[in-house]
């Protein structure tokens, strides 16, 4: 029998039981659409998170004071008090050839005032390097001037919200503001895009790190951002950081070093696993649809005993009958899968339109995997009815109604 005729015969029999076929097809389509939409959501979340992290900087390493570890020898209360991470430590780090630039960060909150307006905001103390290191953008003016990090200087860069709140529509450039007890001249305003690992950069004031330390009367840094010279030199940079700190902190590298890569790949792995998991859960509905295919096919075999007997009398060998019924199951599954792909893609696009921030796009593997699973389930569950048909006793099939 020619393959085209097998297909035509299968489609012809499906047309014979239209409602049943359409309902099964619908179940298949829902399963496939669910796989596509859910994996698209998972993939969208992954791309979103990865994109946000990548925007933080390139080859970024973050050094935090203190070490996250469990010490077993001494009771915690008698354990060492971690040493502060100081500006000198940060400057020392910059000497490694594996490190391109560093940006120390001191953190505190202080009232910021201009004229009669006052606002409590986060004060970030850093250096000119921060702009490059964290991929910040300016709305107007310049960033902090590239002076020696340990020299205070009365200049400030405002976050977009702070600028708008204190100055309204006015340009803040060149104007003076009061931060705590000190006066700073505004040299720039940050663009409204921006987030920096945990801070909303809209509502901050950036001042030179030495000025911030004087403001808060503290020499400890909140963290040091380090940019390695290249992706490959990140491990060398991490080693250099640990060595430098150990040398400066009496043999203890009591800092926590986080590489952006590690964080990124962790998130990447977690979200990929999540996508796979939701895809897998959705795939269960395809198995259910497969069971429906089996049901439809069993009914079809029972209803068409007569026809099967006839085909046998006309000389169709069991393999041909098997092929005819499997083709029918495959046609059902495939048609359902194709409808599901269309519905799924449209669904993903609708969600993306509703939430433009989230790049809702099914991963490349999702569509072929969903279609293959649908087809596989259809064929697998089609085998039992098809074999039943192929094994039917022709005599019984032809005389069952008499």
């Amino acid at each position: 029998m020619r393959p085209a005729d097998v297909a035509a015969h299968a489609l012809g029999s499906l047309r014979g039981a239209r409602l049943r076929a359409v309902l099964t097809l619908l179940a298949m389509a829902i399963g496939v659409a669910a796989v596509i939409v859910l994996t698209a959501l998972g993939e969208g979340a992954r791309r979103f998170v990865v994109g946000e992290f990548a925007a933080l900087g390139t080859n970024l390493i973050i050094v935090l004071p203190g070490r996250a570890e469990t010490v077993g020898t001494a009771p915690p209360l008698l354990g060492e008090i971690p040493r502060d991470l100081t500006l000198d430590d940060a400057i020392a780090l910059a000497r490694s050839p594996a490190i391109r630039r560093i940006a120390p960060l001191a953190l505190g909150a202080a009232p910021v005032a201009r004229g009669g307006l006052e606002r409590e905001v986060m004060i970030l103390g850093s250096t000119a390097e921060m702009l490059e290191l964290q991929h910040l953008e300016l709305r107007s003016g310049k960033f902090l001037p590239p002076t020696a990090p340990d020299v205070p200087s009365p200049v400030a860069v405002l976050g977009a919200t702070v600028a708008d709140e204190l100055f309204g529509g006015e340009s803040p450039l060149g104007q003076w503001i009061r931060v705590g007890e000190r006066r700073f001249r505004v040299v720039g305003v940050l663009a409204s895009r921006g987030r920096s690992i945990g801070f909303d950069l809209h509502d901050v004031v950036v001042v030179p790190v030495a000025s911030a330390q004087a403001l808060f009367n503290s020499f400890s840094l909140f963290r040091v951002g380090v940019e390695a010279t290249s992706r490959e030199s990140i491990p060398r940079a991490v080693r250099a950081i640990r060595e430098t700190i150990r040398r400066r902190h009496d043999g203890e590298d009591d800092v926590t070093v986080i590489t952006q890569d590690a964080v990124l790949s962790t998130f990447d792995t977690i979200l990929r696993a999540l996508t796979l998991a939701v895809g897998g859960i959705a795939a269960i509905s395809l198995i259910v649809a497969g069971v429906l295919v089996m049901n439809v096919m069993l009914v079809s075999v029972a209803e068409r005993t007569d026809e099967i007997g006839l085909l046998k009398a006309l000389g169709a060998p069991p393999r041909q009958i098997l092929a005819l019924f499997l083709a029918e199951a495959a046609a059902l599954a495939l048609a359902g899968a194709l409808v599901g792909v269309v519905v799924g893609e449209l669904g993903a696009r609708a969600i993306e339109r509703a939430y433009p921030l989230l790049p809702v796009r099914p991963p490349a593997w999702a569509v072929p995997a969903a279609v293959a699973t649908a087809l596989g389930a259809g064929l697998l569950f089609g085998i039992l009815p098809a074999r039943r048909a192929a094994r039917l006793d022709p005599l019984r099939a032809l005389t069952h109604d008499r």
């Binding site: 029998m1 020619r2 005729d5 015969h9 012809g12 029999s13 047309r15 014979g16 007569d306 026809e307 007997g309 006839l310 085909l311 046998k312 009398a313 006309l314 000389g315 169709a316 060998p317 069991p318 393999r319 041909q320 022709p394 005599l395 032809l398 109604d401 008499r402």
Partner: protein, 231 residues
């Protein structure tokens, strides 16, 4: 062409053995027209099913064209059914969702004949059985006689040597039955070997040979003499 030697078929029904066919020994030559008659349950249908390889004998041998076919595997039997044997049933057994032309075409489709040749042969068969005008109609829209003509066209389209008919006129009125009978006779004259199970005395009268069955046994085997005089 056909040699049956002590062919038996025993069914098990409710734990009891039913001897549907008891040691039938029979020879049918090429070009013969055999009517099988007898009361219900006498084993005539069983004989026909065995001849058509739709059933397997319990014992005995069945040789078709010199080959012992009774115990061949299912694919080999299917092949013989396709190439050598045609069936006509009392209840026509047309596929309801297919048109008359599609029903006639079905054996060619199963055999894998190319579409162009299929069209040619189906058109010729429809023409030969005066069905051209009904080609696009489904069985539900055809009369009984037309349905049986479609069924006969289908059973002969692959050019079988043996045509087996199980009560071909059983569901038809007398006049239509005679039409169908005339059709079968025409096929027989063209060289087909014809075996008809029937209650219809007119078929039985016109057959060249009449086999009477009773209780699973062949009890009479009469040949109409050459003159065509009544037996």
């Amino acid at each position: 062409m056909i040699r049956l030697d002590a062919l038996s078929r025993v069914f098990l029904a409710g734990g009891q053995a039913v001897h549907a066919l008891r040691e039938a020994t029979l020879a049918i030559e090429r070009g013969d027209f055999v009517a099988v008659v007898g009361p219900s349950g006498s084993g005539k249908s069983t004989l026909l099913h065995l001849l058509g390889l739709l059933d397997r004998p319990t014992s005995g041998s069945y040789r078709l064209g010199g080959q012992d076919v009774g115990r061949l595997g299912e694919p080999a039997q299917a092949r013989l059914r396709r190439e050598k044997i045609g069936f006509v049933f009392q209840s026509f057994h047309l596929v309801p969702r297919m048109t008359a032309a599609q029903n006639v075409e079905l054996p060619l489709v199963l055999a894998g004949t190319p579409p162009a040749e299929r069209r040619r042969r189906v058109a010729a068969a429809l023409d030969s059985f005066r069905l051209t005008e009904r080609a696009g109609h489904r069985p539900g829209e055809l009369s009984g006689g037309q349905r049986q003509r479609v069924a006969i066209a289908r059973s002969t389209i692959l050019g079988p040597e043996l045509l087996l008919a199980d009560e071909p006129t059983g569901n038809l009125d007398r006049e239509t039955g005679l039409e169908v009978l005339a059709l079968l006779e025409r096929l027989w004259r063209d060289g087909l070997t014809l075996v008809v199970v029937t209650h219809n005395s007119e078929i039985a009268e016109r057959a060249a040979r009449r086999i009477r069955m009773l209780d699973g046994r062949i009890v009479a085997d009469e040949r109409r003499d050459e003159s065509g005089a009544p037996r």
